[in-house]
Each structure stands twice: as C-alpha cells, then as structure tokens.
C-alpha cells in the first residue's frame, strides 16, 4: 500500500510544475494540474482513513530516502501511516482539494493564479510531510515548510504593504515558537540519543522523574522537553502570547485563511502534542501548562471575537478560541477528544471561512460587517452554508438523537475536562463561558450579515464597485433572485446588487456543509467512545480509556450546560442585533473601557510593540547606522573604495604630460632602487 507516496508527493510535483511553469503553462493548465493532483490525493486518502475506521488498517512506515547520517544522528525520510496520520490525511487533502476548487472562482480575476495554486500545493505537501513524519527532524521540515508557504500566501498580494507586514509578522512570531521546538528537538536528542518518534515514545516512561541541567538549575527532564516542544506548538497554533500573527494573517486571500489558518496548519500544534502524547503523559506539570494555556486562549480569543467588525477577523479569533479548546482537551489527557474537535473544526471552520469569502466576493471585497445586512435573500446558498457552519460551531444538537459536528466534539471536550477534575474543572467552567461567547459572536456575525436592513451604501468598496460600471458582471449569478430590486432601489443598498458566487465556489461550500452537519454524528463513536476509541486509535495516541469512560458518566447538568449557554448566547445576539439594535451602542456607552479593551485585543499588539518591536528596531538602527554604515562600511568597503579613487586622482595628477617630470620619476625610482640595494 504505497498510496501514501502518491498522496504526499503528487502535490509536490504539481507545485513544482505549476510554480516553475507559471505563465508558460497558463492559468487553466496550472489550476487543473494542482487541483487534479489534490483530488487524487484526497481520493487515495479516504480509503486509508476508512480502513482504520473499520479496524482493518494497520500502522506502517514507508521509507523513502536517507537524509542525514552523522554519528548517533540518523535522519531518514520516511512516511508513517497510523490512525492519527490517517485522520490528518483526510482533513488536509479534503479541505485542500475543496479550497483549490473554490479558488478557481475566488481568484478568477487575479493575474498571478499559477503562483497562487503552486503555493497552495506546496503548502499541502509540507503539511503532509509534517503529519507523516516518523522522526522529529522530518516533522520540523514539514513544520518550516508550512511556515514558508503560510508566509508566501499571506503576502501573496505583495503590493499591499499590510499584507507584507502581516506575512513578516507571522514569520517572525513563528520563529519564537520554532526556537522552542528546535531546542525541544535538540534536548530530546540529547536525552534519548535518537530523534525517531517511536523510539522516543517507547523510551519516555523510563525517563520519568529524571532531571536535567538547564540554565544552571536541575529540572525534571520530561517537563523541560515537553514545555520546549509545546512552545513550538503555541507558535504554530497561535496560542495566547504567540497568537498575534493569526488575526493579521487574514490579509491573505480568503481560501488561504480557510485552508491554512483554520483547518490545517494552525492545528499542527495540536497534532504534535497528540503525536507526542506518551511523552506529555510523563509530565503532569507540562500537561497542566497546556491546559492552562488552552483555556486562557479559548477565553481570551472568544472575548475579543465579540467586538471585531471585520468578518474574517471574527472567524480568526473564533479559530484561535477553538484551538484553545483542543489544547485544554489535550492538557487533561483527552487526546481523542482534541483530535475529534480538530477533525470537525476543520470542516465547519473551513466552511465558515469559505462562506465569508463568498460574502466578501458578493460584496465586492467589503469585509466590514457593519456594511452588510439583509444578505439572506441576495445570496441564499451562501447563507444556508454559513448557517450550517454556525450551527456546527455553536454545537446545536439534542443528546442521543442528532447534533451538528461541534455538538459532539466540543461537548466531548467539556465533559472530558469536567471528568478529569482538578485543573480540568477550571478549564470546564472557562470553556462553558467561552461557549456562551462563541454562540454570541457566531450569531452576531450571522445577524449582522444576513438579517436586518442593507447597510451597503456607506461602504467605500461598494461605491467603488458602482462607479466601476459592473466590474463583476462576467460572473455567473442569479439575477432572478432580486428582480424586484431593479426598479426601486431600497434605502441603504446604494443601488448595488450582490450576486451569488460561481459554481466552483458553491460546490466546496456544499461539501463542507455536509461535513459540518454529519461529521460529528458519524464519527464520534470512533474518536471518543471508550471502547471503540481504544481500538480506533490503536496506540497512535495515549488514549485514556478510564477518562473516556468517566466523561460519558458526568452529571446531566454538565451535559446540558453547553446547550443552555448556546441558547443564551443566541438569545443575547438576537436581542441585540435583531430586536433592539440600540443595545450594542448603549453597552459601549456604559462599559467603554471594557469595550476598548476587547476591541484592542487586550492591547497585546501594543504591548509587544513597546516591549519587543520598538527596542528591536532601535537596536537594529543602532547597528545599521553606527555599526555597519558608521564603522564597517566607512572604514571597510567604502573607505577602501574612496582610497582607491583618491589614489587614482593622485596618480592622474602625477601624469602631468611633462617630459621633465616623467624623467624625474624615473630617476627617483632608479636612485631609490640603488640606495635600497646598497643599504640592505
């Protein structure tokens, strides 16, 4: 079964051909090639996943090449396939394939399409390398590969200064995390003498309780290693402290946000913790830290999400918050629940992003929800898809009957946290409160966008579009849906007519909607059921059967609590944005300080600017102006060059053209030579 080779390397081949072929190939060929490769990868991935579902799959390692051999260090390229990888494979290839298809419509007017698709494909390859890694170095290769692709795609519209700034920010913030990850890898090699993941995990229990010297103190070995590795995960998964790049990354094209900054790359941290879960199990301290960071991020991001007005930023903070859920699930030992949420979240969050992209597409690149409203009738298909996504993320469902995807996964996490007790209980309460906020901001988004009266006229983008004489008319759109608007422009529309997105964008929405609706219902047994789960995961993560049993036997109020807070959030949003639209303004007037605090994202960016960015610039400027220009350049290259030029001028002056002076120089030279020969 070497399908895995095709799954991983097809995207790479497609990326290389499309990337270097670029304009020579032309848009259609590049797009068909990359999208086709991804669909093939996707089709090959599902059988692998289903075989693990059915219990017929077995873990295996497919060697590819030797990479580094130096002393004890033996790094090879090898593709590992087990349950954990299989889950990631379907998530990555499915979402990636759909995003590729979606981009046909979304990027239709872009002049650089082959480059875009090549980057997407490159990203997919790197992500697949990450999840199939059999050793830490290969994982790091994929880790950096996705970072690179993320950088390239955030800054895809490189003529936009804000996009470049965001790309650099993402890269630099991830560097902090990567430093932790690298030190974790070094430390692991130091302690275990190997970087092979199975060998490390096998040896980990024996290391419990040992200590290691670090910065002059003795620490518990496993705690140090796990914390270092977790710092890497925090950077990639945008956890509190290293989260600042994710909202800014929304500067990239929306399909990128859906694929990289919602469904796949940002979950790499969760994947890594789960992959190394036997290691983390050896350090209660590290797990406690993971729980704490997860819960804090979950809460922080949800609060900020309630105040943002940019549709993509709301979803970005939502992503950040959901990642927090995954981490505290991992922190309490419910790795299955974490992976399950990762799995369902990939579908409904990609759906929400792509839906938002469809809205943005319809609204001529306006992203501010304050200028939306009443879009339900204009773009009904997008509306229904977004509704499915919202129902999934808010966790709508009836116990033991049916629920949307988030209902199973998020509730599973909350129950597991409660069942774990101790720090988990705290995480549970924070998670419940975050669920309330989740429901609120999700419905707020829906209400502002799809309900109410149109508020489009005030948007600069819309006005621009209107003056730009039907810039979008070449799109397939349903004119019939709003025939009644043609002759009597409603107040607030400014005469603009949004149009539904083309089929290439609607098909992915439809497929992902199915995922958002059914993914939880279909797969929850395998992922988080005590007996089924143990068989399904089959040792690929540290599956805690005891905890899984306990989470199904929590009190009824614990099971009902997420549903109750979900309804509460829905009710508040309904009151504030449908019934009485004055409430938000009154709230802002009443609690201005709190509102500003949330609107400014807890002032993290300002704080970092003050502590890190400004001093870094100051130091940089000092070394640049004083050190480099003032010292090295002045006496080095520039100084020497000036000396040479001056020498040239002098010798030119000496070359006067007068015979006498020429003869004089000759005689001086002769005299000097004779003198020197005499006196030596």
């Amino acid at each position: 079964m070497n399908a895995i080779l095709f799954i991983v390397f097809l995207p790479l081949v497609a990326a290389i051909i499309a990337g270097f072929g670029n304009r020579v190939l032309g848009n259609t060929v590049a797009k068909s090639l990359t999208t086709g490769a991804l669909f093939v990868s996707c089709l090959l991935s599902w059988p692998i996943f289903l075989s693990f579902m059915g219990g017929t799959g077995h873990a295996e390692v497919v060697p590819v090449l030797d990479f580094i051999k130096s002393g004890n260090l033996d790094v090879s390229w090898a593709l590992r396939v087990d349950t954990l990888t299989a889950v990631m494979l379907v998530v990555i290839t499915t979402v990636s394939a759909l995003v590729h298809l979606y981009s046909w419509g979304y990027m239709d007017e872009d002049p650089d399409q082959p480059r875009f698709f090549a980057y997407l494909c490159l990203f997919t390859f790197a992500m697949l390398m990450l999840v199939t890694a059999d050793n830490l170095v290969q994982m790091f290769f994929g880790w950096e590969g996705v970072g690179l692709a993320s950088y390239l795609l955030i800054g895809f519209w490189f003529k936009k200064p804000s996009a470049n700034a965001a790309a650099i920010k993402a890269f630099v913030v991830n560097r902090v995390g990567d430093l932790g990850f690298m030190m974790g890898i070094f430390g692991t090699f130091l302690v275990f003498g190997t970087i092979s993941i199975p060998e490390i995990l096998a040896a980990a229990p024996g290391m419990a309780g040992s200590t290691i010297g670090f910065l002059g103190y003795r620490f518990d070995t496993m705690t140090v290693l796990c914390l270092l590795l977790f710092v890497g995960a925090m950077g990639k998964s945008a956890q509190l402290g290293l989260h600042t790049w994710l909202p800014d990354a929304m500067e990239g094209p929306t399909p990128v946000s859906a694929l990289i900054h919602a469904a796949t790359m940002v979950t790499a941290g969760v994947f890594m913790v789960c992959r190394l879960s036997p290691m983390f199990e050896m350090s209660p301290t590290a797990l406690g830290f993971v729980t704490f960071i997860g819960a804090a991020t979950c809460f922080f991001a949800a609060t900020v999400g309630t105040t943002q007005t940019d549709i993509k930023r709301v979803i970005a903070y939502s992503t950040c918050s959901q990642l927090g859920y995954m981490f505290f699930a991992a922190g309490v030992g419910a790795y299955g629940a974490a992976m399950f949420h990762l799995f369902t979240h990939a579908f409904f969050k990609a759906l929400l992003f792509l839906g938002a992209g469809s809205v943005i597409h319809a609204m001529h690149h306006e992203q501010d929800m304050r200028f939306y409203g009443g879009l339900r009738k204009e773009i009904p298909l997008t509306f229904w898809a977004m509704l499915a996504g919202t129902l999934a993320i808010t966790g709508v469902g009836i116990i033991n009957v049916f629920g949307f995807a988030g209902f199973y996964s998020k509730d599973g996490i909350l129950e597991a946290a409660f069942a774990a007790g101790g720090g988990g209980k705290v995480a549970f309460y924070i998670g419940i409160f975050a669920a309330l906020l989740t429901s609120f901001y999700s419905w707020r988004l829906m209400f502002l966008t799809f309900w109410g009266k149109p508020r489009w006229a005030a948007s600069e983008h819309i006005q621009h579009a209107l003056h730009d004489a039907h810039g979008h008319d070449d799109h397939a759109h349903d004119d019939h849906a709003h025939d009644d608007h043609h002759h009597a422009p409603a107040t607030g529309t400014g005469g603009y007519h949004p149009h539904e997105s083309p089929l290439t964008m609607l098909i992915p929405l439809g497929v992902l909607s199915m995922g958002a609706i059914f993914a939880g219902f279909l797969f929850h047994h395998s992922f988080i059921d005590a007996e089924h789960g143990a068989a399904f995961w089959n040792g690929s993560i540290a599956f805690n059967t005891h905890l899984m049993h306990a989470m199904h036997e929590v009190p009824l109020w614990v099971k009902l609590a997420p549903g109750i807070v979900m309804l509460t959030g829905l009710f508040i949003a309904w009151r504030a944005y449908i019934v009485n639209t004055d409430i938000p303004e009154k709230f802002v007037a009443q609690f201005g300080v709190l509102y500003d605090f949330l609107l400014n994202k807890w002032y993290f960016d300002q704080l970092y600017n003050l502590i890190f960015v400004k001093p870094a610039f100051a130091i940089g400027r000092f070394f640049w102006k004083r050190g480099d220009q003032g010292t090295i350049d002045r006496f080095g290259p520039n100084g020497l060059a000036a000396l040479v030029v001056k020498g040239g001028q002098y010798s030119a002056r000496l070359q006067s053209g007068y015979l006498a002076s020429y003869a004089f120089v000759m005689l001086i030279g002769l005299a000097a030579a004779a003198t020197w020969a005499m006196t030596r």
Partner: protein, 479 residues
C-alpha cells in the same frame, strides 16, 4: 665555431633582416601604392621566420661565440613576437587609409623591430642585448610618430624617444659598470663573476640594467611614458607596442635575471617584487577614472606586467614557465582588446576612443560586446576564462617559492583591477545605447577577434597541457 652553423641558428633574424631591406627597395620604387603588397609580404616574412624556428634556430644552442642563443626559450618568445607583429601589420592598412597615412614603411618598420626583438630574446651577451634593444626602440620611435602630421602622434613619438633615450643611457651605463667590474659582457661570464661576493660596482650595474629594461616593459616607476604614448600613437601601433615589445622585453629581463644575474637572485628579487607590486597596484588604481579606452588599456598593460613579474620574482623554473604562459595569454587578451578598439568607429568611419561610446554595445553590436566582455573578464582574472589560469600560475609559482605575502597582496590588488574591467562590461551591457558603431567590414579583423576570444574563452583550457609543456621546456633552457 662555424659561421654557417651560426647563421643557420640566427636564421629568423637573417630572413627578416634581408627581407626588410628587400621590401624597402620595393617600397622605394613602387611607392605607397604597394603598401598592401608589402604588408602581405611582411607577414609572409614573419611566417617564414616562424617556420625557420623549427630548424637549428629553435634549439641549436650558442652561436657567434656565445653572443647569440638559439634555445627553446628564445623560440617560444619569438613565436609570440612574430604573431603579434603579423597581427599589427594586418590590421593597419584600413586604419591608415582612412587617415590618408597609408605608407609602405609601416610593415617594414615592424619587421625591423621584429629583428631587434629577436636579437633581444636571443641575446647571450650584454652588447647583443643592447643592439637588439636599440634596433627595436628606434623602429618604435618612428612608429609612434608614424602619423607625423597628427599632433598627438608626433607628441607620443617625441616623448617616447626622449624617455627611451634616457632609459637607454641608464641601461648602457649599467652595462659599462658590469663590464668594468666583471671584465666581460657575456652573460655566462657575468654570472661567474657574481658567484663570489657581489661588489658594489656589480650591484650598481645590476640595478641600472634592470632599470633600463623596466622602462621597456613599463614597470612602475618607469611606466610614465606608457599612457601618453599608447593614447597618442595610432591604434595599430599601440596594439603593436602593447604586445610584441612587451613580450620581448619581458623575456629579455627574465633571461638576463636568470642567466647573467642568477647568482645574485637575492639582490634583484626585492627590486622585482617592489616593481611587481607597484605595477599591479598603480595599474589598477590609476585606470579607475580613465575615460579613454586606449589609456585604460595602457594602465591595464602596466597592471599585467606586474603580474608577470610576480612569476619572475619566484626565480624558479616554474616561475619562468608561468611568466611565459602569462605573456602568451596576455598577448591573446591584448590583441583581442585592441582589435575591438579598432572596431569603435562612427558612421563616417572615424575612430572613437571614449569608453562612453561603448554604452549599450550589447544591443547595437552583441557579438562585439560579447567578445570584449570575454577579454575584460579574462583580464580581470575571472574563472573560467584563460586569464584566470595565467594569474593562478604566477601566484602558484610565487607561493611555491615561499613568497606568499607577495601573492596575497597581488591577489588583493587584482580585486581593484577587476573594478574597471567590470565597469566596461557594465557600460556595454547595462547603459542606454550610444549611437551604434559602423558595422565591421573586414573579415580579417572579425576573424582575429573571434580567434582571440576563442583562445581566451574556457575552450582555451584545452591549450593548457600543450602550453604548460612548451613553456616548461623553454624555462628549463635557462637553468
């Protein structure tokens, strides 16, 4: 000693000397209309002289009681000299025709200079040396002011003559000192005398002789005439000056340094090192800021002589072999460069000399630009062009002789030199095009440029094994 055998050994000089006299008669009776005929005959003479090197003239040994040597060293040098002289003759008629200065004396003067140069490289005696040198010099003075109505040409000739006379005086004085203190003018005799303690008089003689020769190779500080003469002289004459006499004087210097002053190597090595470094640095530094291509190439030749002297400073057979290789490559690069300069003509056929006029040459004359770029890259010593190999050999020889500081400084200074060579390339390839040059209408010149470019290009590396063998063989003849 058999006079016939001696004459056979000096056959190239006999052919060229008698031939030149005969051609002079042709020119005297047929007038300037016979110039082209005389030119071709001169080239034929040079070719015949070259062929005669295959006989005893190439390996016969000593002739005329040690006054004259026919060894592999001289043969190799003569080959280069004859090639350079022939090229200088071939490119001249079209140039002078345009200036209405087409005269039959030009090829004859070059042939006479070639006789002198042949004597120089074959000299086994201080007086042979002097006679050869003077024959070459006198021909050169006339050549420099060949367009005597042209002010710059006349000025160049005069400057060359006055300073040349001064240098000759210095040389002759040195010879007289050596004769006075050693009692002989034969190289071998001088060497024997120098084996014992070097007397003050011998030391002075050595310094003066080297100074006189340094003038001919235009090593610093005896280089002052070079830029003025190169700029003022007609371009074909400059081509000649930059190639053949350089080879002759350099080979002569090598021969006298090794054969006559070999025992006193320690005495002259420091002087040679100083002259080498001073030439490299000044040649590089002063070239920056030049706007006239001929002047720039003059400094380039000073710079190159410095590199060749690095090989001589080593004082070993490897060093001498490296000098010969360097001179061979140098001749190819220099001839090529000047051939390109000859192509710089405006619409009416007037020759241009400013570097400015090369702007954007890559777009107006891509082939010419490519060829000139090859020569410039090679002169700058950038691999994989042949100029790099030549530089590598001399530095390798210097390091082999333990002179690594000299090599280090030389390599560092060559970076400065790279600047102005690359600047020309930049002008040709990246500047806005200046008015296009007139298209080439001479197959000879185009062919020669292509040939030189081919030799200098990486393909030239196929020549290395042969060149290495021949130059090593020639170098061993001296030791």
């Amino acid at each position: 000693m058999n006079y016939v055998a001696s004459l056979m050994m000096s056959l190239p000089e006999v052919i060229l000397g008698l031939g030149a006299l005969a051609l002079l008669m042709v020119a005297a009776f047929a007038g300037d209309t016979s110039t082209r005929l005389v030119s071709w005959l001169s080239v034929a003479l040079l070719a015949a002289a070259g062929v005669s090197l295959l006989g005893p003239a190439g390996s016969g040994g000593e002739a005329f009681y040690g006054l004259y040597r026919a060894d592999a060293f001289a043969a190799f040098a003569k080959l280069l000299i004859y090639i350079a002289a022939a090229v200088s003759i071939l490119i001249a008629p079209r140039f002078f025709e345009k200036r209405e200065a087409l005269r039959a004396e030009y090829p004859i003067l070059i042939v006479l200079a070639a006789v002198g140069m042949g004597m120089m490289v074959s000299a086994g005696d201080l007086l042979t040396l002097y006679v050869g040198l003077e024959l070459n010099s006198l021909s050169s003075y006339v050549l420099a002011s060949f367009m005597r109505r042209d002010q710059r040409s006349a000025e160049a000739g005069l400057k060359y003559f006055v300073l040349g006379a001064l240098a000759s005086g210095i040389l002759l004085y040195g010879i007289s000192l050596l004769y006075g203190f050693t009692g002989t003018t034969l190289f071998d005799g001088v060497a024997v005398a120098m084996k014992d303690d070097l007397s003050t008089g011998e030391l002075f003689g050595l310094v003066f002789v080297l100074a006189g020769l340094a003038f001919k190779i235009s090593a610093v500080p005896f280089h002052m005439w070079t830029p003025d003469v190169y700029e003022g002289a007609p371009t074909p004459v400059t081509t000649f000056f930059a190639s053949a006499p350089k080879v002759a004087a350099m080979c002569l210097t090598v021969r006298i340094a090794v054969e006559a002053m070999g025992p006193a190597t320690d005495a002259w090595r420091q002087i040679v090192i100083f002259a080498a470094l001073a030439s490299i640095v000044l040649g590089a530094v002063a070239a920056i800021g030049q706007t006239n291509i001929k002047r720039l190439l003059a400094y380039s030749s000073i710079n190159n002589v410095g590199f060749a002297l690095v090989g001589l400073a080593a004082g070993t057979a490897e060093g001498v072999s490296a000098v010969l290789t360097y001179m061979a490559v140098y001749v190819a690069m220099t001839l090529g460069s000047f051939l390109c300069v000859l192509q710089m003509r405006d619409d009416e056929g007037n020759h241009l000399e400013t570097i400015q006029s090369l702007s954007g040459l890559s777009r107006t004359r891509p082939a010419l630009a490519a060829a000139l770029a090859i020569f410039m890259f090679s002169l700058a010593g950038i691999p994989p062009l042949l100029g790099f190999w030549a530089k590598f050999l001399v530095f390798d020889a210097a390091v082999g002789a333990g002179l690594w500081p000299l090599a280090a400084i030389g390599i560092a200074a060559s970076v400065i030199g790279a600047f102005y060579y690359l600047k020309i390339i930049k002008t040709m390839y990246f500047d806005e095009p200046a008015p296009a040059y007139r298209a080439s209408d001479s197959y000879i010149e185009s062919g020669l440029i292509a040939l030189c470019a081919l030799i200098v290009s990486p393909l030239g590396y196929f020549l290395i094994p042969v060149l290495g063998l021949v130059t090593m063989n020639a170098a061993i003849a001296l030791f």
